[in-house]
Symmetry: C2
Subunit: 409 residues, 2 copies
């Protein structure tokens, strides 16, 4: 994008008027940061996308209400890691509301002006005394300099904080968008144990904001898969405080702004995959030749979640039969004798493994060399249709098992 | 079942009139058995259930035709391990037909009287010279004593052969059923990298046979999950040669015989799960309170394939929030606040972890003690409906990754 520029060490506090703070309130071990606030002095319009899981965490229940009823006067978000506040019944909902109320009170706002996010272990009540003292200590240190620390505070099994910001040049002037996200298990389309907060200083009406966020999430966070599991807590929040003084109302500008937001979300989404639990490979799966995009997407997803495909990635084994096997079980009809498959380490030079459903006479060493890279691409053509889809995924390694076999201890 | 008795060391050759042979023709390394024939002097009626994968191996294409057109004059099955003959195009189909023709010719039958099965690596053409000399050497050693060896020859990553036989006492007399199966990756409902051959000396009409096999497979092999992957080759074949001289035509007897076959298939299916790749735990997942059995089954399956649930099993970590998470992403609507969850090590004494969507005050040590067993049961109630389903699964361990990261080398 010509009008899209990265800002060095950018974050949710890069857009004008946003501040943040992070603190260690005792939810994580070893005095690690585990509570963050993002705050705007000016009211924000907001939009959100939530998990499609039937079992939703208390903060999701609370935030859905806020976004439905109060999405033009928002002031901030309070987030904790270390405890998901999910499967916690009525007490959990009360605790989520209390978190919201405590943050709002400490900053002189109304409770419904705050959103709340939680991530971590499921099925344990939040220790509200720790949350309360954490919030009360934190608010005095809100600063535009703390965006990176906020991204660090929301990490669970992530190995590094994920944040960035960009400037977008529009005919009306320059605005900026910032974002942070956390993975890194339960990552799959329809959202995942994934929290993301996006901020912008553009002035933009709630209806436009919602549409742009839906599009951006569909093209980015919903195109990544780590393990096929979808969490109870997944949420992407977007706050627009208008502090740039630049209103975006022109169709072309809205389009350009939306494209920038999609691009920013795609970068965050790829960061999540690259930092997937135990991930050692980043793999792009492109399925072409489908009749409908949804079919291409379903096939690409099914390949991306197949344990047999993912363990072959981990072993640098170009066992492409598993890719065909996974495509075939996706529930989409296609002619196996019309399939072609290529792989590439650089997206330029492609090695064809399969033509018309039959192996080519490629050299095994060439295929193995591509699969031994830390990033590579797979292109499966299933027919002559015009629709296609891309999904980004990672391998399933020993470390994934190690991380998840004993997550709580 | 009162009329169902195990026969010590039983196999596909326990029913009268069946013989078998196994040989090492060089498809596996180290001179391991990799080719087997099951043979009946008398014509058999046959039935089969095949993979639902869109990408099917050549033997599946060939056997579908045989079962559709020639299922009353069958004489046997030829099976190889070490090569799946899948994704091998027109040459693969020719090779599957050649295998069938070679086996038939060596035994003085017509090609259409033989079925063919293959399992192993995908995307490599069968070395037909090895197959041919293997078949030609093998036929002279057909014997009722070789049922166990045949079960051994079809193993891939299985650690032990899976075979059994039972006698069924009916008013008409005693008949027997034998079976063998192999796992042990790509195991999931809708079949899996799973081959099974069942034999019986009962006299039974093809239409009844087909219905009984469909029911048996649906209650057994389609209730197990190792990794959620479904193979290109999965096949269950049933041959009935009538050698007992006992025709089964009475409704009650058909029902009793069918129940015995379902029970035998269930035992084979559980053997597959217990020998799942890297499996250290055998877990029964029961979902009750659903409106429809299909919904209960979908939820139980989704729990069974969740990598996060399965790694928690591997770590003996009673992280039950992941069970709720997986249930919630199954695509079935239910009220999370009506859910209850129990676990048990013996199926008698149950520890309740969740009541009305809220954690009980159970002791963590009690839950951990149950999850540390090599076998345990999970019961999730999702509402007040009357439908339920059971699925059997295993954990996702380091060994699963080790086995599959480098399967081909």
């Amino acid at each position: 994008l010509a009008n899209y520029e990265h800002i060095s060490n950018g974050s949710v506090t890069t857009p004008a008027g946003f501040t943040a703070v992070a603190t260690a309130c005792g939810l994580k071990k070893n005095n690690q940061l585990d509570l963050a606030l993002i705050y705007s002095e000016q009211d924000c319009t907001g939009a959100a996308v939530f998990t499609k899981n039937q079992v939703v965490a208390a903060p999701v229940i609370v935030d859905r209400e806020i976004i439905a009823s109060h999405n033009t006067r928002l002031r901030g978000v309070v987030v904790n890691a270390g405890n998901a506040n999910a499967c916690t019944g009525a007490q959990g909902i009360n605790n989520a509301r209390a978190m919201q109320r405590l943050a709002a009170a400490a900053l002189g706002c109304q409770p419904e002006q705050f959103l709340v996010l939680s991530t971590g272990v499921i099925g344990v009540q939040l220790p509200m005394e720790k949350i309360q003292s954490g919030i009360e200590q934190a608010v005095s240190e809100l600063s535009p300099a703390n965006g990176r620390l906020a991204a660090q505070a929301i990490m669970t099994t992530d190995t590094q904080p994920k944040h960035l910001a960009v400037t977008v040049n529009l005919p009306e002037g320059q605005v900026s968008i910032g974002g942070m996200a956390k993975g890194s298990g339960m990552i799959h389309p329809d959202m995942a144990t994934m929290l993301s907060v996006l901020t912008t200083d553009a002035q933009i009406a709630p209806d436009f904001l919602d549409g742009l966020l839906q599009t951006a999430v569909n093209q980015s966070f919903n195109r990544i898969s780590i393990d096929g599991d979808t969490s109870t807590n997944d949420t992407v929040l977007l706050l627009a405080n208008g502090a740039s003084g630049i209103p975006i109302t022109d169709d072309d500008s809205i389009h350009a702004f939306g494209a920038a937001m999609t691009q920013l979300c795609t970068e965050l989404a790829k960061m999540i995959v690259k930092d997937g639990e135990g991930a050692t490979k980043f793999v792009e799966i492109r399925v072409t030749g489908a009749g409908r995009e949804a079919d291409a997407h379903t096939i690409a997803n099914t390949i991306a979640i197949s344990p047999l495909v993912k363990t072959a990635f981990a072993g640098s084994d170009p066992n492409w039969g598993r890719i065909l096997m996974a495509a075939g079980r996706a529930g989409v009809s296609f002619d196996q004798h019309a399939c072609a498959l290529w792989i590439s380490a650089d997206g330029q030079s492609w090695l064809q493994l399969l033509a018309q459903g039959t192996p080519t006479d490629y050299a095994e060493a060439d295929a193995a060399s591509i699969f031994s890279q830390s990033e590579f691409q797979i292109h499966l053509q299933i027919g002559n249709g015009l629709a296609e889809a891309i999904v980004w995924t990672c391998d399933l390694s020993h470390d994934y098992v190690t991380i998840n076999a004993d997550y709580r201890t």
